[in-house]
Symmetry: C2
Subunit: 456 residues, 2 copies
Amino acid sequence: MNRILLFGAGKSTAYLIKYLLDHRRSLNIALTIADLNPDRIQNELRDPQEITFVKLDIFREEERKNIIKKHDLIISMLPAHLHMNIATDCLSFGKNLVTASYVSKEMEKLDREVQEKGLLFLNEVGLDPGIDHMSAMDVIDRIRKEGGNMILFESFTGGLVAPESDNNLWNYKFTWNPRNVVIAGQGGAAKFIQEGKYKYIPYHKLFRRTEFIDVPGYGRFEVYANRDSLKYRNAYGLSDVLTLYRGTMRRVGFSKAWNIFVQLGLTDDSFILENSEQMSYRDFINTFLPYSPSDSVELKLRHYMKIDQDDILWDKLVELDLFNPKKFIEITNATPAMALQKILEEHWTLSEDDKDMIVMYHKFGYESEGKRKQIDAHMVVTGEDRKFTAMAKTVGLPVAIAASNILKGEIQSKGVRIPIEKDIYAPILKELIPYGVEFTEREIPYMGYNPENVIG
Amino acid sequence: MNRILLFGAGKSTAYLIKYLLDHRRSLNIALTIADLNPDRIQNELRDPQEITFVKLDIFREEERKNIIKKHDLIISMLPAHLHMNIATDCLSFGKNLVTASYVSKEMEKLDREVQEKGLLFLNEVGLDPGIDHMSAMDVIDRIRKEGGNMILFESFTGGLVAPESDNNLWNYKFTWNPRNVVIAGQGGAAKFIQEGKYKYIPYHKLFRRTEFIDVPGYGRFEVYANRDSLKYRNAYGLSDVLTLYRGTMRRVGFSKAWNIFVQLGLTDDSFILENSEQMSYRDFINTFLPYSPSDSVELKLRHYMKIDQDDILWDKLVELDLFNPKKFIEITNATPAMALQKILEEHWTLSEDDKDMIVMYHKFGYESEGKRKQIDAHMVVTGEDRKFTAMAKTVGLPVAIAASNILKGEIQSKGVRIPIEKDIYAPILKELIPYGVEFTEREIPYMGYNPENVIG
């Protein structure tokens, strides 16, 4: 029996659990789910009788150790900062570990010990990070095998609402942690390289420095730069590329409207608003505008942000009911970001039948036999409903497949790893195809980073 | 003999030392100056033979304790983070202490012990903080004494270049720590109250939310908001005022041009520029602009920042030689702020004969006998040269006078204090007058905070 223990069964685990249940016979799996609130999950699942549920507080050391000891492979879908307790126990008891989270510095430090014990702690094996690594390395390794030399890599991912459920002016709904969307891009300038030049964009300009990208069959999107596009430069073996850029995708016009929030200061998470609890939405906006004894909040905002009368951007703000004096923040000691999140959640939460959509787009530029070439690859995945989302599918399935491949002994890599090696990523990508998680590639003329198609 | 020990004799101490020497007979003063580099100071002083110079590393505990023990009153003009070692020793050996720095949390904690020992640690007794506290409380206490009730307090201070030495397009030169000027306003939204409404300005809007102020005889200035205008709300007894705003003064047009640096990201001190040492000034600007295979840095900047061809703002940038490809940053691991500071120091450093100018402006609004009234008070001090600056005068003289008043036993207050009580500030303000450090008051009609003079 392959005993799998899953920590945390939040909203991204529907497909993960389903995969493990679907394969429980063929892989001889016994699945345990440990969560603070197992009842809630049990009621929501299609086949709860096939699973052992355990109510567990991750901070209760003895209970945690006892349950880890009794399993063969551990999956943690808890928030990233909770992984280390589990990882330490996995090391003590010789258990393999799979997560969809970024490798923390503490996790990284376990690498040698994990290797010495012949274990694999496989992280960043969800969507982003996860499928981005795997699909990029799949093409990069192929280009290199055929003698090509990488000179450009750009990669964009978006968690969006599917066109059939897209019914607001922002063309956006929350499909993931809303807080991360509100504070996205904060904490330092975005950094990347274009044609050999380092470029930096400060946060307050990030949403005005977007670029457009057309996705075949899905129309035009825009992209804003991620904080650190150079993070995987060495891991991907791209230390010499001329262009390295990673970004987040939105529908066209989102960023220009979002920029209004940034400019006003509404996304600031570093201070507490005075009297936030009793603040109306209108007060909230007004606190970031100049005082006037007579002018309206609306006109002050239009003037301050130079919004023309016929700019649809204005309607995006009105749609959120930002100027309502009778709706209140109702959060004690709220930061501006917390207040904004509350307002947005009223409008951007997926309805029962709403479908989400994941879009990923890569550009690979390379030199081969004296010629410069380019391959573009893209993936679009649409969700089924609010529970079986494209997000849950693209995060959960790679985790589940990785776990089953480890159990089957098909992965040779040991240590604290991310899925950039072929023995890890190739079988996962292959198994994702029947689920509709698949990239379409096309060769296009190499343009370098040249957004205006200018001849130099 | 009143033995005074001065720690640190940097550029702000010319008048401080001169005052103590001028009063050495009448006050029976013996002055010791302890500094890491006493020779440098000795050569610069007019009467070095009257002073005992000691070479001292503040971190050498025994030497520090020994010298403190031998004196009656200690003045520290060292950087603020170095005060605590001295303060602890002053407490042990029962010595009074005077500084021109903000009271740190650690310093604050000593209050009870300092009181119990019957000592006075008088801080914030320079210009800003210092003269701002004293001159404000002088008027506020008078208004209250006459039965008035404060409803508005605004206070602005600027360290500027005097009109006769003002020969650049920015109408600005560094008269204080250039680094503090470059990073001014960073670290969180500016916060203040206008007509009972809390207002917040994020850093990236700070230099576009300036207000004008006319100083009689000196023309028009502009003001940007300080980080925390509410800091002294309780200390000044202003918890119920409708308007509380503190700001920094510049000549008109400075902030709009400075905003270009903020918008580009040049004032960011949170990350290291790749290859900063070999970066030309032109490269430095270009790294914050979009990549183009053909367009000039100049046009990209004009377009990005929407600078019209006939905008004098552009000439301010050109004056700084920002687009020079042959001048280099030449600093290893420079942050953008460090690189910008280097460029600015080439142009904004006072020449030998340049005069600086300190401007302070207060507005006091109050209700008295059912009427709303206003008093405005302002002070302008011009320096003599690069050494005897208005900054050195307005920082150093209050410190020196405070020290001598403590020695004369004229101050009753004990504990860790700032100069907001009458027994401290009144004699200092009075003695400053013959030095030309003096406020001019005038009564004007009360307008409240009402920048456009709109009738509500």
